[in-house]
Each structure stands twice: as structure tokens, then as C-alpha cells.
Amino acid sequence: MRLADAEVVDTFAEAFPMWAARIVITAENSGWAGTAARSLTGFATSVIGCKCEAGIERVLDRSETPDGRPGVNALLFAPDRDGLAKRLVERVGQTVLTCPTTACFSGLEGEETVDVGGQLRFFGDGYQASKVLDGRRYWRVPVMEGEFLVQERFAVAEGVAGGNIIMLGRDSASALRAAEAAAAAMRSVRDVIMPFPGGIARSGSKVGSRYSGLMASTNDELCPTLRAQVPDTKVPAGVNSVFEIVIDGLTVEAVSEAMAVGLEAATRSGASHVTAGNYGGDLGPYHIALKDLVGEAQED
């Protein structure tokens, strides 16, 4: 399939369920809100090594936050509900509670919740106090700066992880330019994050390894340097660099939308080919076919 300047491979991205939470961080100014959000979502590129995947979803205007201050939405994903609860407590406790002027709220609504502020309150060593407003309990934890306000329970929901597109280019610069354009376009989509640095991974992986105990290893089929060594290489002649964007979202529709806008941007910004990663269809229940996304882009 052709779309703009690129060949789009007729394949699909294979996504799977993960538990998700949305964290709303507010602060005295957008600078501190952003600092806290970057700390919260740091070292959270892949569950393989970080136990969770996280990223900044979008910057919030004052009118969109619970306390009327500048804010940031972050999404955090983990394989199971209990794991998500642990990661939330660890990360909010270490990166938001500690950050000047911040407060932290749940950004999702729903019956399914996990305890976050109710655990972090113990930092108050008995001097913490709670407030209940509109059916929600908040904890006021005294800190040296003043007070840290955190919502007791955070709603969690089953999200979708592992959406992806892979951009191939004639050289590293053009492939990266395509990936950057795709990541930038995807940032306009609500309910999704791209957990890798700048949204882009240069080291896509396959499941397993020749070394025992290693869950994942380099995606040799898409390594240009191995094109002459790997018998079933998927690197076409003339391609010298490949980047991947992984997308986690609250719904498969949001992930698909992000893939579609990213695909469209990549094909206009230097990619020679665009493909997607899957596991043969056996791992995840969500199969997002690139041909469907191309169809949408062509209709637009």
C-alpha cells in the first residue's frame, strides 16, 4: 500500500490489555507541574524492565484542574491492578509528594479504585488530616513546605497497551524525522501516551532471547545492521535505520487514532516504509491493521 511518500506494509499491531490510571498533577505554576509529571513518568518505558509504562498525556489549563491551578495529566499502565496500585504509591510518593507546590488527583472516574493517598498519608506520621468533598476523600499531609494534598483513591480501568507503528528510512536522519513527526502528531490525541523517550524507541524488541532468563531481546529482523545475517530479515534494501513508537491508551479506539495520525505524519516526513509489530496474533486480543488506518487517512 502506498500512502504519501511511503510504502505501508500490510500487517497489524497487536495490542493487549493493561490496567491504567490517570494522574492529575497540579502545582503553583506549569513549570513545577511539568517537573513533577516528568519525574513521575520517568524510567517507565516498558513493563519489561520498569514494571510499568507511563507518560505525559497532556498539559492542562487552569480551568481543567480540580484546584484551578496549572496541571498535567499523566497515564500509568501496569499488567495487573495490584501492580498498578503499587506503582502509583511508589511513584506519587517519591516524585509528586516530594516536588514543590504540587497536589495530586485521580483523573479517571469509576467504581474500580485503588488506594493511593490512603497509603501516602502515613508519611504524615499521625499529623495527617483528611477532607471529604463531593464524596471524595483527600489527604492533607504536612510537609516542610506546607501541605501535600492527595486524593485517597484513584480510579483504574482496563486500558490497551502495545499499539505501535514502526518507521523505516533511507538513513537515520530521515527515519528519525519521520518518527519525530509521528510522535508530535500523536501528542494531539487524547487518552494515549507514548512511553519511550520523546515517544520514540530505537530498540524495538522481540519476545525471548537465546540467553535464558532474558524476557526480550533486540528485534533482529528489523535491525539494518543484521540485514545480511538474519535469514528472515524484514529490512528492505536501501533502508538503513528504523524507529518504533509504542502507544498505550485508555481505549483501543484512542490507540488506533494515535496510530492513524502518526502513520499519516510519518509517511509525509521521511519514512520510506511504515510497518507494525505483532506476535503473530497469539498474544493480544486487539489487532489494529495498518490497511484500515491507511484507508482512514486516504478518506481524510
Binding site: A129, K131, V132, L133, R140, G146, E147
Partner: protein, 273 residues
């Protein structure tokens, strides 16, 4: 919506416990007319005092000169009750849910022992607003009370949980022996607020004379207060930007008890600086 219109003001207080939208929602009109009310110490029926119009449902409206009608909306758990005009004592006492809107003033003991729901008084309230029932230690245990006018003495006495906000002036000893919860005085506080309080918050938007058993902790911008004040403003109470953005002196007390409570006093000059 069912409307009950009081035919004439009773000569002695009329107790109407149970006249609430949730109780009446599934009743036929004849059943509503047969419900018991107490005319002083005499058992009577709703139909003896009120004319009924409309259909029963989740909304109930009560009209007439209701200043001697007590316990309107007491114990209601859901629905919406509108009182067109002033209401008597114990209005909304023991509410557990729903919304009760009084388009005039309410007498003493409004919202005592409340556990949930929302009581809105567009006029003023008497004494013991959101306080404890006679003989009980704990007062209001949940829900919200908003008064657009003034309120009398002992607002939120024994308050355990919930929010009381008064746009006008509060009388003396607001938050007497309160256990937790939040009282917001947008228009001034009388003498001795928070006397004997264990926990909880009283917020004052104008200078107040505190008991000597309260100690100044610091001046800061309490993050939780922004949520509360924005909530109040969204519900139509007169909250200013200065109050939302301002700094508050935190006084801890009462020293005769736990000293885990707080009175937050807006520092206007600092807020404007």
C-alpha cells in the same frame, strides 16, 4: 411534582416528620393526605392542613407560611424538596440524601444530625445549624449545608463530618466542640469560634478574635481550601478570587482539647501583595 400548600398558619407548631420526597414518591395522593402530622400534641393528617396538587414523584414542593411547620424534609434520603418561603425549626434534620432547598429562612436546629445530602437555605438560618440533636455529642455526620444569609449561634456544634458554609455572618461559638468536618464563614464569625474543638477546620474570611487556647502555626495557602472554595463558588456562594488565591493564618486549637483542629483566617493584605 407534588405540591403541598399550607392552607393557614397553624396556631401551634405543626410537626411534619416524614414529609419528604422519597417517602411520598410512591404514595397515592389519598395516602399522602392520610399521613400523620402532629398539631401540637394532637395527632392530625396532612390533608387537614395542606392542599395537594400535582403528581407524586421525586420532587416535592411545599408552599405557604411555614414558619411554624417543623421537621420539613427531616430524614429525607433522596429526591428534591423545595420549600417556597420560610420554614420552621428542625428543617432537614437527620437528612441522609437528596437536596432540600429553602427559598426563605429556616428556624433553629436546621440540619441537625444530618448524615448526607444537601440543604440550601437562600435566606438566613437560626441557631444550632448543622448541630447535634439534643443529648447527642456528635452533630452533623455528613452532607452539605449552604446558607446564603446569616446564621445564628453554635453553627456546626459537634460537627463530625461534612461541610457548612454561610455567606453572611455566623453567630457565636461556631464549631463548638467540633470533632472534624469543615465550616466556612464567608461573612464573619462571632465570638469564641472553635471552642473545645478536637479536629476539623473553620475558615474565616475576615478578622476574628480567637480564644487564647489557639496558637498561631503559620501563614500559607492550604491546597484543600482551593477545592472547597471553588466548589462553593460553583454552587453560587459569593467566593472571591482573593479568597481562593489568598494566604491564611493557621491557628491550631483548641488547646483545652487535642489541638488538632484549625481556624484558618484569610490574610487579605498578604493575599493582595
Amino acid at each position: 411534582m407534588l405540591t403541598l400548600t399550607l392552607r393557614e398558619q397553624p396556631t401551634v407548631p405543626l410537626e411534619t416528620e416524614g414529609l419528604s420526597p422519597d417517602r411520598l414518591a410512591t404514595c397515592q395522593r389519598s395516602e399522602v393526605e392520610a399521613l400523620t402530622v402532629w398539631d401540637g400534641n394532637r395527632r392530625a393528617q396532612v390533608g387537614d392542613f395542606f392542599a395537594l396538587s400535582g403528581e407524586t414523584g421525586e420532587e416535592l414542593r411545599v408552599e405557604g407560611d411555614l414558619r411554624r411547620v417543623k421537621f420539613l424534609g427531616a430524614g429525607m434520603t433522596a429526591g428534591r424538596l423545595t420549600i417556597a418561603g420560610d420554614a420552621g425549626m428542625h428543617t432537614g434534620a437527620g437528612m441522609r440524601g437528596g437536596e432540600l432547598v429553602v427559598e426563605g429562612a429556616v428556624g433553629d436546629f436546621a440540619g441537625v444530625g444530618m448524615r448526607g445530602g444537601r440543604l440550601v437555605v437562600e435566606g438566613s438560618a437560626g441557631h444550632h445549624l448543622g448541630g447535634a440533636r439534643q443529648g447527642e455529642r456528635a452533630g452533623m455526620r455528613g452532607g452539605e449545608i449552604f446558607v446564603h444569609g446569616d446564621a445564628g449561634d453554635q453553627v456546626g456544634a459537634g460537627l463530625r463530618r461534612g461541610l457548612i458554609a454561610v455567606a453572611g455572618r455566623m453567630g457565636d461559638v461556631a464549631g463548638l466542640r467540633m470533632l472534624a468536618g469543615t465550616i466556612v464563614a464567608l461573612g464573619g464569625l462571632g465570638a469564641r469560634p472553635g471552642a473545645g474543638m478536637r479536629r476539623g477546620s473553620i475558615v474565616a474570611m475576615s478578622p476574628v478574635t480567637l480564644l487564647p487556647t489557639f496558637a498561631l502555626a503559620n501563614t500559607y495557602r492550604p491546597p484543600f481550601l482551593r477545592l472547597y472554595l471553588r466548589h462553593l463558588r460553583a454552587l453560587g456562594l459569593p467566593v472571591t478570587d482573593e479568597q481562593i488565591e489568598g494566604s491564611y493564618a493557621r491557628w491550631s486549637g483548641d488547646g483545652v482539647d487535642l489541638r488538632r483542629g484549625e481556624i484558618l483566617v484569610l490574610e487579605s493584605e498578604r493575599a493582595l501583595a
